[in-house]
Amino acid sequence: MDRKLEKGRSSGRGDYRTLLIVAAFIFLVPAWSRMIPGEVLHMDIVNVMVFAGIYACVVIGLNLLVGYGGQISLGHAAFFGIGAYTTAILCTRFAWFPTWLGALSGVLLAGLIGWLVGVPVLRLKGNYLAMATLGLGEIAFILFTQLKGLTGGTIGIPQGLNVSVSEIPPLSVFGFKFDSDIKFFFLAWAIVMLLMLLNINIIRSRVGRGLRALHSSEIAADAMGVNTSRYKTQVFVLSAMFAALGGALFAHFQRYINPESFVFSVSILFITMVVVGGMGNLWGGIVGVIVLTFLPSVIQAMPQWIPGIPASLTNFSNYSLVLYGLLLIVFMMFMPQGIAAGLSRASAFTGRRAKRLRDRIQARKYEGH
């Protein structure tokens, strides 16, 4: 018993150590990416990493919902959009409005809407949430385009609105403006690391244990006194708030928004990121986000690296959905644990191989004697 406890604790410490390593690796990205000349790279790594950080906020929460709550959301683009639109509307209408308060309002509003949808739907066993959120995503998109006076319709904010500012103001805290790629890079990834810390603590808490019990058998967990629907609702609301935080960052980084960024395929992109990275794997979200955010840039840069690749292949938006669909099917069928689990398996495998090789060399040494 004691040893088990000890083991549990040390594996937890392992998570914190991995977090430090991942953070160190990511925060060093600007340093090493500057060393590679632009003619070789053909992409702005820091800029892509900012978007990866923004999407990571959404995907970390979604992974918690899918991997631990056992529920799918097909409407996280809606929460992402609610976060973006709330702060964009507040901060362009009222020039005095603090940007951090705008972001906070978006997060709270998304949490409230998530709660209103989650309470009736997650009271039930089964996978009704997927359809309910699919509907929510469609409705949110209809509202973003139809409520022209508030959202600027298809043109978006701020161009579609009759406001004095020409762009959404940059995020500023205590007078410090995050108005460049590099500043925003550190902000976004610092937030991601905080969310990861929160994530690790949630998984190790009472709620996390309840969710794990729920994932293996919901009815058994119910019978053991785990309030399954409350835990599921809490995780759903939390994931909605993470998504809205990502949306608020998105609005303040890109400085303009329109409904195109919150369409159905964006919700699918988020789910694909979770699945490709690894459902229920703590690091899966970040791995999936980085892989899929870099994919379009890599494909676009391809003709520069390898001459002879037809230009039609580089128009990623032409076939992004075919690819996402295939990735979902193939990963679920052949690699349901995702890349993150594959990575850790591969490192364990190479570790074993290396050990065997060492042993063999050792043995040969003895044989030689």
């Binding site: 899918v66 739907v121 996978n127 359809m131 929510l136 699918i268 789910i271 669909g325 979902l328 349901p336």
Partner: protein
């Protein structure tokens, strides 16, 4: 046996109530805009009913919500466009060919992707159906492009006067095919050994496989029926509303809302749910700006899940460990 009796009684009761409502509404609104709305509402409602039955059949046999259900309708409509509008095949032959092609695709997809995952968790299979759905949609966008296409009606476009309302002839084709499909599905599940076995498997999969009913075959048959129903729905509605690569999502969402409204897993429920949703939606489109029409299905979905999760004709779900 007792449950079958009750179900049939419910079916009779449901359809009786519904016909009474329709007859009363007809007498009150005869020839007015209201009646016009009810007629077009029943037309789209029949389509939702067929799609909802597809959802229910697959849900009963595998407990999976099939996200690709709407895409079968989309594919049906687009294949019909290729066969009949572009290829000059006569409408009824085109209908049969398109349904056959989509049905073969549905069965093939089940064998290729769902069958290998039969021992996996439901959420895994649902994610695969999501993958199938967006894959089919993106493929259709590639093949047919983004422009909506018009498909010729089966028998002309000049409206017919029916009880004082102007009704397009295609509406009668929709009603005809919907009634035929409902009768065929009803006969299959009540008069054939296979269908009865599938109902037993839906009720208690373990007990059914103990007495020799193959759950793997039921899953295949369920996907075949669901894809056929979806394709038929997509083809007959295509001449009224345009067909395009993107109609699948909305049709799927509406069909699912209908299935929930009627009771997921109940075939009569699917019919009642579809017709009610169709009428409510058309009335909403008449009263409010039409941009909000699509929100009705979602509101109904949430309300039903809140107030009566087993739906109008469904039974409360058993809880089994």
């Amino acid at each position: 046996m007792g449950r079958t009796d009750r179900k049939q009684k419910m079916l009779l009761l449901g359809s009786a109530v519904f016909f009474c409502v329709v007859v009363v509404a007809t007498l009150i609104f005869k020839g007015s805009t209201g009646f016009q709305w009810i007629m077009s509402g029943l037309t789209v409602g029949s389509i939702y009913a067929l799609i909802a039955m597809g959802f229910s059949v697959i849900y009963s046999s595998t407990h999976v919500i099939n996200f690709a259900q709407g895409e079968f309708s989309m594919l049906g409509g687009m294949l019909m466009y290729t066969l009949s509008t572009r290829g000059g095949v006569p409408p009824l032959l085109g209908f049969l060919l398109a349904v056959l092609m989509v049905t073969a695709l549905g069965a093939g997809l089940e064998r290729a992707t769902i069958h290998p995952l039969r021992d996996q968790s439901v959420i895994t299979v649902i994610i695969v159906t999501i993958g199938i759905s967006i894959f089919l949609r993106a493929l259709a966008k590639w093949i047919w492009g983004t422009d909506p296409v018009k498909i010729a009606s089966f028998s002309g476009d000049s409206p017919v006067r029916f009880l004082g309302a102007a009704v397009v002839p295609q509406s009668f084709w929709v009603f005809g095919f919907a009634i035929l499909a409902v009768i065929l599905v009803f006969l299959f599940f009540n008069r054939t050994l296979m269908g009865k076995g599938m109902r037993a498997a839906a009720n208690n999969a373990d007990a059914a496989s103990l007495v020799g009913i193959s759950t793997s075959t039921s899953s295949l048959v369920a996907w075949t029926i669901a894809s056929g129903l979806g394709a038929a729905a997509g083809i007959v509605i295509a001449p009224i509303s345009f067909a395009s690569y993107s109609v699948g999502t909305m049709l799927g969402l509406k069909g699912f809302s209908s299935a929930i409204l009627g009771g997921l897993g109940s075939a009569p429920g699917a019919v009642v749910g579809g017709l009610v949703l169709g009428v409510l939606e058309t009335i909403t489109a008449g009263v409010f700006p039409s941009g909000y029409k699509d929100a009705v299905a979602f509101l109904i979905l949430i309300l039903v899940l809140l107030v009566r999760p087993q739906g109008l004709l469904g039974k409360p779900e058993d809880v089994k460990v």
